[in-house]
Amino acid sequence: MPQSIPEPEFDELYRELILDHYRNPRHSEPLSDADVVAEGYNPLCGDEVELRLNFENGSVSDLSFGGRGCSISRASGSMMTDLVIGKPIEDVRRLSEQFNKMMTDPDNEVPEELGDLEALQGVAKFPVRVKCATLAWHTLEDGFKQRDEGGLPPGGVVRHEE
């Protein structure tokens, strides 16, 4: 188990909940026949994200999250799946906005609907890690855009770059 780490911010960054999502990512089994596949890439740290999405009646009916990345980026993606599945797209868009706000303004109060994602609030104090946390969400927005534009483009997937 993690040794006691003296500094508060450090504790705030690596909350137990984050580590748990990192170790045991939720919905990490790739959906086999997704309506939309969106890839995200952060060239600064090499983090890669693959989201596979299914939609039903304007809601995200299913979502898988995969890729290679640091604990923050993977925990963020994993928590996102938990939060988003089953929700109407417009609600998800609002959540996404709220999440981005949390990442850019460390002093902002975190809305309750973000649920577990509140655990990522400490990331905002580590400027170099913010993009790790937002990658999954920005990729999700790309996935939505793809859906609006009528599914997969000729090339197969859409890539988002931070």
């Binding site: 188990m1 993690p2 040794q3 780490i5 003296p6 500094e7 450090f10 960054l13 690596y14 137990e16 909940l17 580590l19 748990d20 990192y22 170790r23 045991n24 060239p43 600064l44 740290c45 090499g46 983090d47 890669e48 290679r68 990345g69 640091c70 604990s71 923050i72 580590f126 890690r129 790790c132």
Partner: protein
Amino acid sequence: MAIETKRIREDFPILKREVHGKPLVYLDNAATTQKPQVLIDALVEYYSSYNANIHRGIHALAEEATGKYEATRQTVADFIGAPDASNIVFTRNTTESINLVAHAWGRKFLTAGDEIVLSTMEHHSNLVPWQTLAKEKGVVLRFIDIDDDGQFVQDDIERHIGPKTKLVAVTHMSNVLGTINPVREIAERAHQHGALVLLDGAQSVPHLPVNVQELDCDFLAFSAHKMLGPTGVGVLYAKRELFEEMDPFLGGGEMIRRVQLEESTWNDVPWKFEAGTPNIGDVCAFSAAIDYLSGLGMENVRAHEIEMVQEGVRRLANVPGITIYGPESAERRGGVISFNLDNVHPHDLGTVLDHHGVAIRAGHHCAQPLMGRLDVVATARASFYVYNEKEEFDALIEGIEAAARLFRAPVHTGA
């Protein structure tokens, strides 16, 4: 004469600093090195006693500043065994030095179908300028690949360097793998085919004895900030006749001889390539850094780093789940160790180490193609210099073990 790190550490004020309540263990030297007090003093002296714009000035301050600036050019020339001070042009950094060659030589002399040979271990700075040139001129880029030991594939050297080759631009020492490349043989082969050789010396000049005449390279680029010097100073060495035939790069003050409204003639080499007011203060101070290194002796610097790498590899190899990249033999690599820890992303490792006071770098190290080649998204990198000592590995290993405990948990525990 061995490197006495205990004594040397006294010369570097930043090493007295604490980070997150721990003594600073600075292992990010391949990114930039720390500065000795003599360098800081040289800057203070410049700005407190002889700051002036150089050349053309007739007052005492301008003469002193010009004298010191030009003396530093000679100091740099001597340090790398260049025949003359006029072989040295001051730029901002290695990156600008390489871009200068791509613009002032490449755009003038290369045409469609000409080939430039690079390698898959290049830093972006020795890659992107050639990509731009290739696109503009229809020049073809060829890449020497690396083998499993992180060395150039010998076959590729022979296959790629041939009659169409106009330039071989490779790193003397890799900033990721530490590999020291066989640049003397490469220069020989290139010259047989009438091609020129540019060495990216950003990592070699600070860490190895380098003599441009022995290596017989045509261009050498490096940065002061990676060798105890200030940020903002780069060097481009070139053979005299190349500087003569190259076009200027930037236009403006200092680099001209005669200016009329519609056209101008150029100043002599090397000033032709130094447009506008140079980074006078930092260039003048840079000589203090070189004097410091010369005082230690580059052979001794090199010997110290071999020892550090040997010990570092030994200690790291004992940590379960560690993968180390680059040549087996410490003799064939500089003071750089890139590695990964199973199940722990280098960024997380870097953050945990930071909280142990240990500064390493984590990421692609401006070598994305090499990351692809190694099939990793990133690596962690510890890199050493004259003030590092073996005792510092304790903090490094402790931090790595803490990260392992934190992130590499038994499956299905937790919430």
